[in-house]
């Protein structure tokens, strides 16, 4: 029986963590994810879960401790945002290369500077090449659902990789919305117990984790890591199917909204997808053939699947909530256009940068972008291929 409730995105993730009751959580507070360790430690203090909470002196330490705990044989996790994630940099790569299936609740906030506390995806996107699985959420419900699916994906024998469950800072983390929760025992049964085959605190079966690797080994190890990330794609879908059976909510690598006959598609990540869907819903009433693709899984990147989903449209607006300072586009724009090229899909693809550092993104913005796309295709209007939304000019 689903439990109908209302809560913020941070509350939802903390609720999921309580239900999963992992073994160890080292964490250091940073806005806007601070509430997560705060709420989890309250659950622990109230005796509602028995996770070992380790208050540490920095995010560098929280990730180090999470890796250590996971290597020792404990199911571990942490939560962070923005500069906190940046301070974990070195350890993020080690968590992945040491094949530690630990979880992180990332509440997306811009990376300074200019110093700012609000949402964009520059923190998560900055960590896109660290070898972690990255799953993004549109709202509190998805943040909750994704977190429950995190460990079954990460701990799968074909994967063994760390996983980042991301949601938009403030926009969903601090917004109270309706949610359907699962019962504790259903979540516990779904996630199961963590039974690693090899771990450090395993008497009589010694192992060494993270040994120095000379050149003749390191490249092969990286290839194996890449294979595991590729493997995770099938596992993510398999876990989603299993999750649908307990929740009735279905998930994929991305969600397609009214794309079947769409001439124009907006492709985006996170909370803005809801705004785009509402705009498309309104535009459809006027007979406009528009649709939305909401990318859920950014790592592994479903390049081929996205290319196929876009093959029959006339133009796509690729929306980046992140600047990558390469003079050519944002990270999503670069990866999607590369995917389109490789899979020989030739459509108009305009890369828009929006919502940096908390800049609002509205239904009207979506109308304007679709208007521009159709103007380009139908009237041959020259459109800037890489541009900012809502920039004061």
């Amino acid at each position: 029986m689903a439990i109908k409730d209302r809560m913020s995105g941070n509350e939802a993730v903390s609720y999921a963590i309580r239900q999963i009751n992992p073994d160890v959580m080292p964490a250091f507070p940073i806005t806007p994810s601070t509430e997560i360790p705060q709420m989890v430690s309250t659950y622990i203090a109230n005796g509602e879960m028995d996770t070992e909470f380790i208050p540490v002196e920095s995010e560098h330490s929280s990730m180090s401790a999470a890796i250590g705990a996971q290597a020792a044989g404990a199911r571990s996790l942490t939560a962070t945002s923005s500069a906190g994630l940046a301070l974990m940099w070195e350890e993020l790569l080690l968590a992945a290369s040491n094949r530690m299936p630990l979880a992180m609740a990332l509440v997306n906030r811009t990376l300074s500077g200019p110093i700012n506390i609000n949402c964009d995806h520059s923190d998560g996107m900055g960590a896109r090449d660290t070898g972690w699985i990255q799953i993004y959420a549109e709202n509190n419900q998805e943040a909750y659902d994704n977190f429950i699916q995190a460990y079954p994906i990460a701990e799968h024998e074909n994967v063994h990789l760390p996983i980042m469950i991301c949601q938009d800072g403030f926009i969903t983390s601090h917004a109270v919305e309706n949610i359907k929760l699962l019962e504790d025992h259903v979540v516990k049964e779904f996630v199961g117990e963590y039974r690693p085959e090899e771990y450090l605190l395993n008497p009589g079966k010694p192992i060494a984790v993270g040994p120095y690797s000379v050149t003749n080994y390191a490249m092969e190890a990286k290839k194996n890591q890449e294979i595991a990330l590729e493997n995770s794609k099938a596992v993510i879908l398999e876990v989603a199917k299993r999750f649908e059976r307990i929740s009735g909510r279905s998930y994929g690598l991305f969600e397609e909204y009214k794309t079947e006959d769409a001439d124009y598609i907006m492709l985006l990540i996170g909370s803005a997808a809801g705004t785009a869907k509402q705009a498309v819903h309104n535009m459809r009433k006027e007979g406009k053939k528009v649709g939305v693709i909401k990318l859920r899984v950014f790592r592994p990147f479903p390049a081929k699947e996205l290319a196929e989903a876009l093959r029959n449209c006339k133009a796509v607006a690729i929306m980046d909530r992140c600047e990558s300072y390469n003079g050519n586009g944002g990270p999503l724009g670069s990866e999607v256009t590369a995917g389109l090229f490789r899979h020989k899909v030739s459509i108009e693809a305009v890369n828009y940068i929006y919502g940096l550092a908390g800049r609002d993104f509205t239904v009207e913005d979506v109308y304007d972008i679709f208007e521009e796309l159709s103007d380009a295709v139908e009237n041959g209007k020259e459109v800037e291929q890489y541009q900012y939304v809502g920039l004061r000019k």
Binding site: M100, K205, P206, P211, E220
Partner: protein, 101 residues
């Protein structure tokens, strides 16, 4: 399934390496004959040795075997010739000689 790490070497294809290059064994360093890297060699003069055992714990490569509270001759398979033992010996019982032998 534990991979037998002794079968892994620098020619092993990626499919046969362990996950995350984990070593599924303990004490594997003894299989690597690091003594080969030695450019200076300590020589043990048993007649001068008082068995004070100051040398054994400072050896970074555990190359001074101790049995029944007495040290024996060097483990040249693993001694890298750093000379720390010679520096701590109060009795001149360890002499450093140039070369590997």
């Amino acid at each position: 399934m534990r991979t037998d790490v002794h079968k892994i070497n620098e020619q092993t294809p990626h499919q046969e390496l362990t996950e995350g290059l984990m070593m599924f064994a303990g004490g594997t360093s003894k299989y690597f004959k690091t003594g080969e890297w030695r450019t200076n060699t300590p020589v043990f003069h048993a007649d001068l040795c008082k068995q004070c055992l100051l040398c054994a714990p400072v050896c970074p490569d555990s190359s001074i075997p101790v049995q029944e509270s007495k040290r024996g001759d060097f483990d040249y398979d693993h001694c890298k010739g750093c000379g720390i033992c010679a520096a701590v010996c109060p009795f001149g019982a360890i002499e450093m000689k140039e070369g590997r032998e």
